[in-house]
Every structure is written in C-alpha cells, then in structure tokens.
C-alpha cells in the first residue's frame, strides 16, 4: 500500500491533451512485472493519486502510462519533467484473457483513449503470434488529430499477420481514411465469430454498442471482455469507492467478462 518512488525517464506529448510517461524505479533495481490490462495507482506528491492502465510492453522493464490531462492530478502529471519523482502502487486488477484466447481469433476494439489499456495485450499477442488465429485491431477516435501511437499503428498495419482498421467520428480536410463510428468496422474485419475472443475498451456507451454488434455477428457474450473505469481509489477492494453492484472494479476488474456485467451496465442507480 506504500507508493514506491519512480523517476520520470521521459514524457511525450501524443496529442493535444494526451501524453505518455516512461518511468523507472528510483533505486534502479526494483523489477516491475504486470499482466496486460492491469493498472497502477500513480501518486503525484501533494496533488493526489489516480488509477491509470499500464500501456507498455509487459516484457519491457520500463513502466509506460498514457493518459489524458482532464483532472487536477492528470493535469499536474502532464507538467512533469524528466527526473521528477512519482509514487507507484500496483499493479492491480484483472488482466486480458490472453491465455484463454490461444488458438482463437482475437478482435481488439479500442475507442479514443481506450487504446492504451489494450496495447500490452497487443504486444503479447504479437510476441506470441503463432499461438493465435487472426488478430484484428479496430480503433475509433474523435478526429484524425486524436489518433494515438500513429507510427506504431502504421508499423502494425504493414504486418501481414495483423489486420488494423482505423476510423474517426469526424473527418478533417485532407483525411482520406475511414469516417464513422468504430462499430461500423466490425463487419469489415475478417474473423470467425464462433471462435473469437474480443477485448474492448472505450467509453461505456461505445463498449455496449460494440458488444451488441459483435453479438449480432455471432460472438458469444462469454467471449467478450471489457475494461471498466469506476472511481478506483485504494486499488485492493477495501474502500468501496469503485463498487459496481456486487463487484469492485479495482479488484474484480478492471477487465470483466461481458456476460457477467452486461445487466449492471444498464442499471442507472449503480
């Protein structure tokens, strides 16, 4: 429960309001290991603590977090400089079902800032590419300027063993890519719905409609996983801030099987 000091090795501005932090242990020795989909509580001393998904390569020792500057803590975080110290607690929570997905097709659907929590899963899938069937990434953002990891997406698009589709809700002059919501990409992707595991991250409405489209195509609710974000504070299921019906998002999630939470998603009271 005590935050460990990590030093900012690098900070990169990804879009107008999104940035990536690369962190290393202050003592230079501690080893950090996590599973794809888990999150850390990042403490900005004197400001506060926020839960942020780990978005780097799980096989790499550098801790990577990409987030958007929206609240007081993330805004302070966006102003960090190389050499600054932050506190880290974690990793916490459940992870993407990369083992259950072995031998099956995998459809990864990201909306907006939902791509970073899925990136470790993609790294894992690509590092063990022969273990999986088709791997598809469907990514929707607001505008072309909001597309994250552009260079990496281009590299992924160039691979023959990964199908990448990107769409934006609003095109801008000069944009020749797809325009439309991410759910429209589901019919374009080549995968076997009866033998597919889907992983979705984005705003809750986007995840609900994506799950519906996947199910229309024949993917079972039990094969769909979503990552939830609900006011996590302690990270270990003690404080109750992230209670989601009978579940705690920080401990039972953030990755949930869709059939286990789909009824909770439409309950306004929780």
């Amino acid at each position: 429960m005590v935050p460990r000091p990590y030093i900012v090795k690098r900070i990169r501005k990804d879009t107008v309001d999104t940035f990536t932090l690369e962190l290393g242990p202050k003592d230079g020795r501690s080893h950090f290991s996590s599973a794809p989909g888990q999150f850390n509580m990042i403490y900005i001393y004197g400001v506060g603590e926020v839960p942020i998904s780990i978005c780097g390569d799980p096989s790499n020792s550098t801790l990577v977090h990409t987030t958007r500057a929206v609240g007081s803590v993330t805004k302070a975080m966006s102003k960090l400089r190389r050499g600054d110290i932050v506190g880290i607690r974690g990793p916490f929570g459940t992870s993407w079902p990369v083992e259950q997905a072995r031998t099956r097709d995998v459809v990864v659907v990201a909306g907006g800032i939902g791509l970073p929590p899925l990136r470790p899963a993609l790294y894992h899938l690509l590092a063990h590419r022969d273990a999986y069937g088709k791997v598809v990434l469907l990514y929707g953002t607001r505008t072309p300027d909001d597309i994250l990891f552009k260079e990496e997406l281009e590299n992924w698009r160039a691979r023959f063993d990964l199908e990448v589709f990107v769409t934006v809700d609003r095109g801008t002059p000069g944009w020749r890519g797809n325009v439309g919501v991410v759910t429209t990409l589901i019919t374009k992707a080549g995968f076997d719905p009866t033998n597919t595991i889907a992983m979705i991250v984005g705003p809750e409405v986007m995840m609900r409609f994506t799950a519906l489209e996947l199910m229309k195509r024949g993917v079972k609710a039990e094969a769909i996983y979503v990552s939830m974000e609900r006011n996590m504070k302690c990270g270990i299921g003690l404080c109750g801030h992230c209670q989601f019906g009978p579940l705690f998002t920080c401990k039972d999630g953030p990755v949930f099987r869709y059939d286990q939470i789909k009824d909770l998603l439409v309950k306004w009271e929780i």
Partner: protein, 153 residues
C-alpha cells in the same frame, strides 16, 4: 467467372429474396467502376441507382462554403450505397466520392421502382432490407453525435 446473379445472391442484403426476384434484380444490375476521386453521384442530382460496393471505398460528403467538403461517413467493400432512389423526390442528398479505385454493382432504381409498384411483395422485401440499413446508419449517426471520445465538461 462469377456472374452478377451469383454475386448478388451471395450478398447478405439479398439473402432469402427468392430465385425469381433475384433474376429480376440481376436484370437491373450492371458492373461499374469509379476512379479515385471520381464522384459516384452529386447532391441534388436525380437518384436512379443504388450500389453494392465490391472493392474500394466511397466517402459520403456535404459541401459547406466555410468548411469545404465534409466527409460524414465512408463506405467500403460489401456496403450498400444510396437509398434516395427509393424515396421521393428521388434526388441525392449528399455527394458520394470514390476515395480509391472503386468497383461496384449498380442497380437501376428507376427500373426497380416500377417493378416494386407492380409487385408490392417485392417492394416490401426491398423496403425491409433498406429499413435495416437505414436503422444501422441512424444508430451510427447517433453515436457520432454523442461525441463519446470528447472530454467531459
């Protein structure tokens, strides 16, 4: 070689339409090709066709003097393009421009309109199919309007 009838009958849009109707629809179909940046149709023009895109991508656009050509949606392989041929006053409400070299099957809407008037069962079958597409596009548009990825204020 794949015949038009075979291609059309295998498309989900025409699923379970029936052999006789499929032959009738095929009689109204022809292969078309649009070069990159060529307009498939222009806003205000008479709408007498719809298209089944076989290859390439088409952008549905509106022109605004202030903002230029605004792309509202892109359609691609397997998508159906255009329903204005079915609804009076039978004129296009948007521009459609090929983003890549695009191959499609054009279906003669004028011919199909006549046949639908003569045979209301065919009309109902086609309307059911177009209603489904309209519903999907409406749902997508609503999600786009929600601006889900914007910062919550």
């Amino acid at each position: 070689m794949e015949t038009l009838e075979r291609i059309l009958s295998q498309h989900p849009f025409f699923k379970e339409l029936g052999v006789d109707y499929m032959q009738l629809v095929t009689g109204c179909a022809s292969n078309v090709r649009f070069e990159q940046d060529q307009f498939v149709f222009r806003e205000g023009a008479e709408a007498n066709q719809f298209y089944l895109i076989r290859e390439g991508r088409v952008a549905l656009q509106l022109f605004s003097p202030e903002r230029g050509h605004i792309t509202i949606e892109t359609l691609g392989e397997g998508d159906i393009l255009g329903w204005s041929w079915l609804i009076p006053p039978y004129s296009w409400h948007f521009d459609a421009k090929a983003l890549d070299l695009t191959r499609a099957i054009a279906l003669d809407g004028k011919c199909l309109r006549r046949k639908c008037e003569d045979d209301h069962h065919l009309g109902y079958e086609l309307l059911k199919r177009f209603s489904h597409i309209m519903g999907q596009r409406l749902e997508s548009t609503r999600l786009q309007l929600l601006d889900l990825y914007g910062v919550r204020s």
